[in-house]
Structure formats: C-alpha cells, structure tokens
Symmetry: C2
Subunit: 200 residues, 2 copies
C-alpha cells in the first residue's frame, strides 16, 4: 500500500465531507492544490474556518448571517415590506432573490417539519414567525416551501398559524416548468397544471 | 441580486479553486457544510491550511512529504533497493504503489521538460537524479513517464543521462489496456501493441 505523508492523508480524508466528492476526486483535489495552487488552497482553508465559526443566523429571518441582522433584514426599504416569503433553506431564498421578482422579507425555516427526525415547530423557529404575525403588520405570507411531502406538511401547519392571526396566505403556483415537454412530465405535475389552469 | 453574508460569499469564491467546482457546486458545498457539517467543514479548513503550509518535498525522491525523507525513502528495506522508478507526479507514484508490483525506490519529477514553460532539467531535479546515478549503486532505472509527447521527451533526456553513467534503463510497456476492445483502440496504441508483440 502507498504511504502518503500524514498531512496529505488527512487532507484527502477531510475533503470527503464535500458533497459529491469520493476518494478519487478528493485525491485529485489534494494533488492539484499542492502542485499548482497552494495559496488558493490556504485561502480556502482560512475561508472555511472563518465561515464555519463566524456564520450564525439572522435574528429576524433565520438565514445565514455573520451579523445579528442579515443584509436583507437590515435593508431599510425591505424592513417596511408587508409581505413575508417563507422558504425552507437559505439556498431556496437565494434562488428566489435571483429571480428579482420579490422585494419583501423572508423567513427561512432551515428545514421542514419531520417529527421522526425530531424536527418540530420549535426547531423551525415557528414561534418567532408567530410573533411576527402577531404584530399584525403583514398583509400577505407567501409559502414557498418545496412541493414535496415534507414541504407541503410544513406549509399546511404555517397556513393554520396564519388563519389564527388573520393573515392572507398564498403559495407558489404548481404547474408545467418552463421548457418542459408534456410527454415527459410526471402525472402529478400535469394534474396540478390542469386543475390550476388559467383563462388565456 | 442576492446579498449573501460576506464570509459565505468568500467561502463560495474560495471553493472554486478546487478542480471541477463551478459557481453552482461551490454554492451547494458551502450550504451543505453550513447546514449539516460545520465540524467537518472546520476540520477541512484546518487540514487545508496545515497541508498547504506543512507539506514540502522529500530530499531524496522529491515526492510530497512533511519530513525531510518520505515514508518510502526512510523505509530500511527500500533504501537498499537498487532499482529506481522515475515518475512524473506524486499521483503517478501512488498509482504504481497501488499495484503492489514495485519494491524499489522512486524519483518524482513533479512535471515534465517543457522549455516554453520554463521547465528545464534543473526544475525537475535532474541534477539530484544524476548524483544518485553517479553513486553507481543502481542496477536499473525504470522510466514510468506518461506516454505523451512531454513524457517521451523527458524519458529520452533521462535515458541519455543513464547511458553516461552506464545504468540499465527500461520503460513501461506500451500496448493494449486490460479490458479494451481492439475496435475502439486508437491507431498509435494498436501500432505499439503490434510492434511490441510477444511470443505466446
């Protein structure tokens, strides 16, 4: 068996925490950094340590933030927004931000209800969401949870919460994805598109 | 445009030094580490910094090592070996070690001759290789360079060096790869396999 120098062996094993990186890719990454880009590798190391230790959650919307309020929550224009968009993860929030369609505020659940995994309303910060609803300033809450079983269940739970506070609730439209072909689209999606059809 | 927290933005940019990692994968990696494996991410960061700063080269064979002699060069059994295998990179050395066929020592060039890129004999440590040849203890030098133009050119150069010191030189066989199909093998490889045919 090959005897790699201990630091190299540790690096290859550590690289495997990255999604989609198996033993061969990890080895390739380690050699490439050592041979061609040591400064980039060291920079990545420092960035990782700083991010893992320094990034917490926004006190208001729960997204990743190194300050007590994230950039969106501390934006004066958006602070006055009366529409709140509830998403499952920071990546979902980013995807919606990229569309440029939404100017309101977010609430990031950082997961979905999953009693078997011990994820209940408290873990998703739904008490903080209820507190925001109780202030009575919101005119609409948009449920932008994943169209999956967990996402739907969580959406139902939050919709009930909104009813209690008399806040209007909407959810993202379900239907055909842009560029999709009817022939290859799954039955459930097609059924949703049919039942949700609009006048032309 | 989305406003990511600065540390997260820096992490996503830093992750792109890894081979095969574009903006989308980098984002996915960053979110995955933050959401699910902060301790693994921090460990990776520490391992990267330690490896980039701590790993140098073995004084004898030039492979990656954090000590002055690598594990193979400091192995008493292999120190006495009179066969030296010359490879282009530490990854190539690892591949040969994995076959378990070779018990001698290595010399890792860490590149190939490439005058246009400023890589000459000195950059590949060929003076150190000549010094080992001059000791007269080697009975065979195996050229295990890549079967590419640069690899061949470097092999020729080293073969001439060996002639000067009267050391026997061999090189890895070229021919059909195991599991390959004649129909799909390129002409040069097939020609090599033909000219290098052996009695059955």
């Amino acid at each position: 068996m090959a005897k790699l120098t201990p630091l190299l062996q540790q690096l290859i094993e550590a690289l495997r925490v990255l999604p989609g990186v198996g033993p061969k890719s990890a080895q390739r990454m380690a050699f490439q950094l050592l041979e061609r880009n040591r400064s980039g590798g060291a920079r990545l190391g420092t960035a990782l340590v700083a991010a893992m230790e320094g990034i917490g959650q926004c006190q208001q919307c729960r997204t990743f933030s190194e300050h007590s309020l994230c950039a969106i929550c501390s934006d004066v224009k958006r602070q006055q927004a009366d529409v709140l968009c509830v998403v499952g993860s920071a990546a979902d929030q980013l995807a919606i931000e990229h569309t440029g369609q939404f100017q309101g505020r977010y609430f990031v659940l950082m997961g979905y209800l999953s009693p078997l995994d011990g994820v209940g309303p408290a873990e998703l910060g739904l008490d903080a969401l209820a507190a925001q609803l109780a202030q009575g300033k919101l005119t609409e809450l948009i449920l932008a949870t994943n169209p999956t079983v967990e996402g739907e269940a969580t959406a139902f739970y939050i919709a009930e919460l909104c009813q209690k506070y008399g806040c209007k609730v909407t959810r993202l439209a379900q239907g055909l994805p842009f560029g999709g072909e009817l022939e290859y689209i799954d039955g459930t999606t097609l059924a949703h598109a049919f039942s949700g059809r609009k006048s032309f």
